[in-house]
């Protein structure tokens, strides 16, 4: 990669391990910037899982059948589990859960901006599973080979569950698309609202992405944003056709020479506006996290106090026994 003479011997050894596809483990030496990049990325991913529970939770109490309710509850529970493994992976790098939460609540740390969009109908639950989990898998499958061991291992587990979520979302869309006219309209409306935000999830186009080059060299990232986006579009367009739904993009076409679908231009101003706080739910999502955090404080304090009392009692018993 960069000029070898500007690297310390440690950095050179580190890069050589990366180049040899060695996994970096928490106790291994690593450049500070590598550690910081990973903490930023993993905690952001953890926050996304955590915040992502909210838009889906919005329909859990209104799910239309018991089977759908159980499946959605299990999915949201999986997301909580993903959040936990990811927070733990970030902790191995020296970040604390408290700090990470503080950064989430203060807005310093980001979460996937997709969750700043509202879930207005039941079809949105289908669209999220199909598109948002679908995009997440596309992003995360390559992360299973990420150079940082704990993150790569967490992703293996996460991806299995995400692909289950994606199928589940697609099944919801399929029932709606083959249902009554009102249901089909609901499904189309959800696709209309979720399509562009989903393809924007892969991040800014190559060249405008500020963290990409270094992350690629470190093998945290394996593919560019545009490559991943293309993969997702190629996978998803035929699925929309199968559903009999129309992707809301007049410019969308198949290029027989490249074998890829080409989309119209993505409205990046809209994407950045939502990232930066103008989405319908930015305020609500953070307020919900803040409220749960504040209202849970007495419970967490009690758990800490109880653990301390118990430890003290055990110690006293031990002394008394001696």
């Amino acid at each position: 990669m960069s000029n070898a003479s500007s690297q310390s011997a440690e950095e050179a050894r580190f890069q050589a391990r990366i180049d040899a596809e060695d996994k970096i483990e928490p106790k291994d030496w690593m450049p500070e910037a590598y550690r910081r990049t990973l903490i930023r990325q993993i905690s952001q991913h953890a926050h996304s899982e955590y915040v992502g529970m909210l838009p889906e939770g919005n329909w859990l109490t209104r799910a239309p059948t018991l089977r759908r309710k159980a499946a959605l509850m299990a999915k949201i529970q999986d997301e909580a589990g993903h959040g936990l493994y990811l927070y733990s992976a970030a902790e191995t790098l020296g970040a604390s859960r408290d700090e990470m939460y503080r950064d989430l609540l203060s807005g310093k740390a980001k979460y996937s901006s997709i969750f700043n969009y509202p879930t207005l109908t039941w079809a949105d639950i289908g669209a999220i599973g199909w598109l948002v989990d679908g995009a997440a898998i596309t992003n995360q499958v390559p992360l299973c080979r990420c150079s940082f061991g704990p993150y790569a291992r967490a992703m293996v587990r996460v991806c299995k569950e995400e692909s289950f979520h994606q199928r589940q979302g697609f099944q919801i869309m399929l029932s709606l698309a083959h249902g009554e006219p009102e249901q089909k309209a609901m499904a189309q409306d959800a696709l209309n609202r979720w399509w562009w935000p989903s393809i924007a999830m892969f991040g800014p186009p190559d060249g405008e992405s500020k963290h990409s080059a270094q992350s690629m060299a470190w093998k945290i990232k394996r593919h560019s944003n545009d490559e991943l986006r293309q993969r997702f579009v190629d996978m998803t367009v035929p699925q929309a056709d199968f559903l009999g739904l129309r992707i809301p993009d007049d410019d969308l076409k198949f290029n027989a020479d490249t074998g890829h679908y080409e989309t119209g231009p993505i409205d990046w101003d809209d994407f950045w506006a939502v990232v930066n706080g103008e989405g319908q739910c930015n305020t609500d999502r953070l307020a919900a996290r803040q409220k749960a955090h504040d209202e849970g404080a007495w419970v967490r304090d009690a758990a800490t106090a109880y653990a301390a009392k118990r430890a003290a009692r055990k110690a006293a018993e031990r002394i008394a026994a001696e």
Partner: protein, 249 residues
Amino acid sequence: MADHLFEYTLRLGDNCLILGQRLAEWTGHAPILEEDLALGNLGLDLLGQARAFLTYAGKVEGKGRSEDDLAFLRDAHAFRNVSLVEQPNGDFGQTMARHLLFAGWYSLVLERLTQSQDSTLAAVAEKGVKEIAYHWRHAAEWTIRLGDGTDESHRRMQSGLHQVWGYTPELFRMDETDTAMLRAGVGADLAALQPAWDARIDAVLVEASLERPSSVTRSNGKQGVHSEHLGHMLSEMQFLQRAYPGMEW
């Protein structure tokens, strides 16, 4: 006889459904992420049992009603859950108090039902009893932690208990259906469960340094007389099936 079995199975199913729905309201709002996971677990267990019982109730009834017909197309007066489980979540202490009292009772009920002459109920109970044993432990551990944690947690846990305690006499009251099912070797002797329930609850309360409340609320949910809360819960839960009747989802 079939009427009693239908009624009895509905009670079991509705207890699980309504409490599972209450737990679903916590999703994403628990005091710690670990507890989001745990409450989701409890909710899923209950929902799974609800589905098994309601499906069976529909079969026993013989009018072709599915689990979803029963869950989404009955009005509040046709629900047969005990009033305890429809009580609002309140704070986390109140939710744990409700769960302690319910799981303490329900796990005893399921233990008896594993011996039921009705093989379907016995099979659901057999699977459920292991799940609810965890519910009991989880609620008991939190009750102790909160009761013996800080002053604030002690106060909140005590007040949560007060809030729901009054609904417990209903759990042990035998009515015609319960008696018929007991005689048939199908159902549990609810009155006979009281000493075991008292003992296990008291043991937890002592360890948690909490007082045993003595309040009584006249509740009769299992006969279809509910609190104001149930109607609101159903209007949310049943929204889609009511707004778009007869559709497949």
